[in-house]
């Protein structure tokens, strides 16, 4: 809304005749300040004109919405204080100074958990694996569509999968549900293999579990160990995740290993994830070749 002031008012006073310093003296050339409203919606418009540094006339329209924030009963003194003149730095404050703003973001008092879910929480305390899954659910962010808390990347409905996903999409929740449910079926699971087994026990098992090691190749460069864990955890307890990192560059070398606690879980993961599109690359998942030593 910058208009060249010279054209409008040049007939009365020539700009060249005026000294440069007394720009303030030109204020009489400006149209008076206009205040419109506030109307029934609380919209108030203030139209002001002033000269900017280049000597151009600038029209400033400030639109504000007056909102009643809280019903407060004010004391007599408080009402009197309302009329106090501004002092200090506040004296020179004009409408344009955006010192006070109303947040554009709606801020809520975020409850730590949904009301009524207390009992459920305490039940899960003993089951560290279930807690892990729960904890993960909070940070559930789909890397494909960016949706939060709705689905995992692996279950993103918007993903054009290299391989039809019908087999996979529905499976992980089943696998998740089955995992702690081993006992439901009545089969005995040794404590060290149970979902809630302690991590240190898992590291002890590492040597024996080498045969449950799954190799993943054709990983994208951005894939890190937590991503792999997130991808593979639905199939069962995972004891180790490793992504090969180039020592010099720090970049991923594009392959990694996942050790499952249970062989069956590993097999299921291979079946489902081999050929699965992940971060626009097609994963190759297979049994890791036995180490040659």
């Amino acid at each position: 809304m910058v208009s060249n002031g010279g054209g409008n008012s040049g007939s009365k006073i020539r700009w060249g005749e005026l000294e440069e310093d007394d720009a303030e003296d030109l204020d009489f050339l400006l149209p008076p300040k206009q205040i419109i409203g506030p109307d029934e919606h609380g919209i108030k418009k203030i139209i002001e004109y002033k000269f900017n540094d280049d000597g151009n006339k600038v029209k400033i329209t400030t639109t504000t919405r007056v909102r009643k924030l809280a019903n407060t009963r004010l004391s007599k003194r408080a009402i009197e204080r309302r009329t106090w003149p501004k002092f200090g730095d506040a004296v020179h404050e004009d409408v344009g100074s955006r010192l006070t703003m109303v947040s554009t973001e709606e801020i809520l008092l975020e409850r730590p958990r949904a009301p009524g879910s207390k009992a459920e929480d305490s039940k899960a305390v003993g089951d560290s694996m279930a807690q892990l899954v729960k904890g993960g659910a909070v940070l559930m962010v789909c890397r494909t569509c960016g949706k939060k808390g709705d689905h995992w990347t692996s279950k993103c409905p918007f993903k054009d999968l290299a391989q039809p996903a019908e087999g996979f999409v529905d499976k992980p929740p089943v696998a998740e549900a089955n995992m702690p449910g081993g006992a439901v079926k009545g089969a005995y699971v040794p404590p060290s293999l149970r979902a809630g087994a302690e991590r240190p026990a898992g590291t002890e098992m590492r040597r024996r579990n080498e045969e449950n090691s799954v190799r993943v190749t054709n990983l994208s460069e951005d894939t890190r160990e937590p991503d792999l864990l997130e991808l593979f955890r639905p199939f069962g307890p995972v004891s180790r995740v490793y992504v090969a990192i180039d020592q010099k560059t720090g970049d991923s070398r594009g392959f990694g290993f996942i050790n499952f606690v249970n062989k069956e879980d590993a097999q299921r993961a291979i079946d489902k994830l081999n050929g699965y599109g992940y971060d626009n690359l097609i994963l190759r998942v297979e049994w890791a070749a036995p180490r040659t030593n």
């Binding site: 924030l69 408080a78 106090w84 200090g88 006070t100 703003m101 709606e106 008092l109």
Partner: protein, 344 residues
């Protein structure tokens, strides 16, 4: 709720204070000018120019006519709230950290930091009784003031020394009979305001494990809450200094306040300011955390700051609160209706 953002300070906030009627909000920051805002719409009413260092603390008299500020420029200043004129300057040998008016506004307790070999100290100063006398002497005949008033007003009534490290907060106890202090040595002390003797000290076992950053009295003055770097806040009886409640959180607590309306306690904090840039913004936990005062259970968190929260204050009507952060913003939150119906 949509908080009101007030960006009047150029440096991190240090302290917030509402006046008794709850219509004015005073803010102190590490820039040199304390500021007063209208607490309903966040409009700036004025600034108090004169300090030459970070302003750490302020207090306003009950009738909202006088403001006292403590600053790192080794002075505490008395201001006229309405006009922003300096009425008096108390000069110390070290930075003033905390100020608090007594009941009746006739005395003020001011704490000073350990500095250049001096130990920390708590000073009790007498504030001239008659505000009109101040106006007369200070505004109209400033020369006389220096000669006559200074000796009367500037002499400390009482100076308390002893605690190691900085005293972060000192407030008056019930009926001005005691002074409660807390600071870096993690010990809460109750002093006799007449004799200057230590009456009670908090137990090392049950007390805070790290420095106490903030202390706030309840509205009725029967109990107070302290926040500490040991990631907890504790509720104490003001007379017996017995520990009533303990609130634990995940981050160092920089500021605490209590709702005057509901049984809510608010803790503000966050990771060290120096670590902020090295981590994800979600890791900082720069939330104002609400706890149930009695059940000590977390009710919720109010996000928004992108630096640690250094100051918190509840409006005396309990319907809004303000938080000030290391990010230089004051955020004024007016609660939605559903806040008042929260059930645990």
């Amino acid at each position: 709720m949509r908080p009101i953002l007030m960006k009047g300070h150029e440096r991190p906030l240090t302290f917030l204070k509402y006046n008794r009627d709850g219509d004015l909000l005073f803010s102190c920051a590490k820039d040199h000018t304390p500021t007063v805002w209208f607490a309903d719409n966040g409009e700036r009413l004025g600034t108090y120019r004169g300090h030459n260092g970070a302003v750490w603390c302020c207090d306003v008299s009950r009738d909202s006519s006088r403001l006292i500020t403590g600053s790192a420029d080794q002075t505490a200043m008395l201001w006229d709230v309405q006009t922003g004129t300096q009425l008096h300057t108390f000069t110390f040998d070290s930075p003033a950290r905390s100020v608090d008016f007594s009941v009746g506004d006739k005395l003020a307790v001011i704490t000073t930091d350990p500095f250049m070999g001096l130990t920390s100290a708590i000073h009790v100063k007498r504030i001239s009784k008659d505000p009109s006398e101040h106006v007369c002497l200070f505004c109209l005949c400033a020369d006389i003031l220096v000669v006559e008033i200074v000796p009367e007003i500037s002499e400390s009534v009482l100076v308390l020394k002893g605690p190691q490290g900085r005293i972060n907060r000192a407030v008056w106890g019930p009926l001005n009979k005691t002074i409660i202090s807390a600071g870096e040595d993690a010990v809460i002390r109750i002093w006799d305001a007449e004799t200057g003797k230590i009456l009670k000290e908090s137990d090392k076992e049950i007390g805070h494990k790290k420095g106490i950053t903030s202390l706030q009295k309840s509205v009725d003055g029967s109990h107070f809450i302290t926040g500490s770097l040991d990631k907890s806040a504790k509720l104490w009886d003001i007379r017996t200094l017995t520990l009533i409640k303990n609130y634990t959180t995940e981050r160092p607590v920089n500021a605490v306040t209590m709702s005057p309306l509901l049984n809510h306690v608010v803790l503000g904090g966050g990771q060290d300011a120096s670590a902020v840039t090295t981590t994800d913004h979600r890791a900082g936990k720069f939330e104002a955390k609400f706890y149930d005062k009695i059940l000590t259970e977390e009710i919720g968190g109010v996000k928004g700051h992108f630096g640690p929260i250094n100051a918190l204050a509840f409006n005396p009507d309990g319907k809004s609160f303000a938080s000030g952060g290391e990010d230089g913003y004051v955020r004024l939150h007016h609660f939605d209706q559903d806040y008042f119906n929260i059930k645990i």
